[in-house]
């Protein structure tokens, strides 16, 4: 997966769910969309569970 923000991944996932729900996809495209969607669910979940708050400090001037 290319590096994308969590928000982008979530939006992309929603788009795949929507596309699949619309029901117009040819079977092969539907299968591909499904697989990509499942991969995105996994990606988002991993990011969420693996996250550790990163705190850095801006030094004064």
């Amino acid at each position: 997966m290319t590096e994308r923000t969590f928000e982008e991944a979530l939006a992309e996932l929603q788009a795949k769910v929507d596309a699949l729900s619309a029901g117009h996809l040819p079977l092969a495209d539907a299968l591909r969309t499904y697989e990509e969607g499942v991969a995105l669910v996994r990606l988002c979940t991993e990011r969420l569970e693996g996250a550790d708050l990163r705190v850095s400090r801006l030094s004064g001037d």
């Binding site: 929603q14 769910v17 699949l20 029901g23 669910v41 988002c44 708050l53 801006l58 004064g60």
Partner: protein, 413 residues
């Protein structure tokens, strides 16, 4: 009482007596304009405030042991930038005069300025009014917070509880976010400039910023009423969530900020989505994906089954072969003329069998049909898959034809 009335009236004391008016006039002539009582500056506590519709203001100025009545005339009273309230410490400048109708000595106040807490309050009002007039608090200036911030700026004291509170909430609620702490002083004379610098330093580095300080006295929170801080918030390129003191404390910073949070912890909540909600959303999207693909596969299976039922190639082949065998057998036992007719019939049956073999795609091409692919090599199954001007490839039985789409015509339904 023993003396006759006549003697009282004619006594020298009565003849020399002053009228009240004369006395008060004498008093006024001594008091009014006396250098020690003119343009005085008096410090005291305000009491008994009365502001009748005439526009004048009456109050008393007192300390532990004495008090003096004060009056402010209409113009001076209207110019007051703060509310005269009982109990506040003020510095009054004015002149002492005597009010003849009551025979009362009073301080005619030209200006009243609060000191101590009152002075803070006055400055607050002044800054607030000026910034409000400039439109800095206008609702249409408020910016929406990003739903999924990547980086949050935190402007606060590194020594304060506010920083700890914000980080604790962020870590629990949305650990995906990165926090950039921009430390500053949060109280004292140097605090405003320090807060301004800390806010300005965040520009371009974060999606949203939290300006936080824990609870404290009005004086402690004073830096957040500073006009410079207000303007730094207003010019921030990203939305600012203010969280200064406790819920009851309202500062100028709160008015200018895009969102005001009652506490630093609440600011952290307002600035981030909840990981728990995201988890639930991910689960529901996964369920939707599974459900839809299951439906889609079921539809596909049904269609294949119905096509197979219509073709029934195995059944047709058996019937054709049966017919051919029966014809062959019959041909052997019939005369020449009849046999010729039967051979023709048999050839017809053979070609029918050959047509059945043509169910495969390659055989379809051999029959003169073609397969069209687009520029990306994908099959073109609909006019929607190409646009006029697209290059397409037409695959026929012995090769391929390069072609260009001129026009798309939809079938009449």
């Amino acid at each position: 009482m023993g003396e006759p009335v006549q003697s009282l009236l004619s006594s020298p004391g009565v003849r020399d007596a002053l009228s009240v008016t004369e006395l008060v006039r004498a008093l006024r002539s001594v008091v009014g304009g006396h250098p020690a009582l003119t343009d005085v500056l008096v410090r005291g506590e305000v009491g008994n405030v009365s502001r009748p519709p005439s526009g004048l203001a009456y109050f008393t100025l007192k300390d532990g042991a004495a008090q003096v009545p004060c009056v402010m005339f209409r113009t001076a009273a209207a110019a007051l930038r703060f509310e005269l309230r009982e109990g506040i410490e003020v510095l009054v400048s004015g002149d002492v005069d005597v009010f003849p109708a009551k025979g009362q000595t009073q301080l005619v106040a030209r200006d009243v300025r609060p000191i101590g807490r009152g002075a803070f309050w006055l400055a607050f009002e002044q800054v607030r009014d000026r910034l409000e007039a400039e439109g800095l608090f206008a609702p249409e200036r408020k910016r929406a917070l990003p739903r999924f911030p990547r980086r949050i700026g935190l402007v606060t004291s590194e020594a304060g509880a506010a920083m700890h509170d914000v980080l604790a909430v962020l870590g629990k609620r949305y650990p995906l976010v990165e926090v950039l702490v921009s430390p500053c002083l949060v109280q004292g004379d140097a605090a405003p400039a320090s807060i301004v610098a800390a806010l300005d330093r965040l520009a371009g580095r974060v999606d949203v910023a939290i300006l936080a300080r824990g609870g404290g006295s009005v004086e402690d929170l004073w830096a957040f009423n500073d006009e410079r801080v207000a303007r730094a918030i207003a010019r921030s390129p990203v939305p600012i969530v203010s969280a200064v003191g406790h819920e009851v404390d309202v500062t100028i910073a709160d008015f200018v900020a895009d969102v005001r949070a009652p506490t630093p912890s609440a600011a952290a909540v307002l600035a981030t989505p909840d990981a728990g909600e995201i988890r639930a959303r991910l689960a529901s999207m996964r369920a939707a994906l599974d459900g839809r693909i299951r439906e889609r596969l079921a539809t596909g299976r049904d269609r294949i089954a119905s096509i197979a039922a219509r073709l029934q190639p195995a059944g047709m082949r058996t019937r054709i072969q049966d017919a051919r065998h029966r014809l062959d057998a019959a041909a052997g036992s019939l005369g020449r003329e009849v046999r010729r007719v039967l051979v023709t019939l048999r050839d017809g049956v053979r070609s029918a069998a050959a047509r059945l073999e043509a169910v495969s795609p390659m055989a379809t091409i051999a029959r003169g049909f073609a397969i069209v692919t687009g520029e990306d090599g994908a099959l073109v199954g609909s006019i929607a898959a190409v646009s006029p001007g697209d290059e397409i490839t037409v695959h026929v039985s012995d090769g391929a034809l390069a072609a260009v789409v001129e026009e798309r015509r939809r079938n009449a339904r």
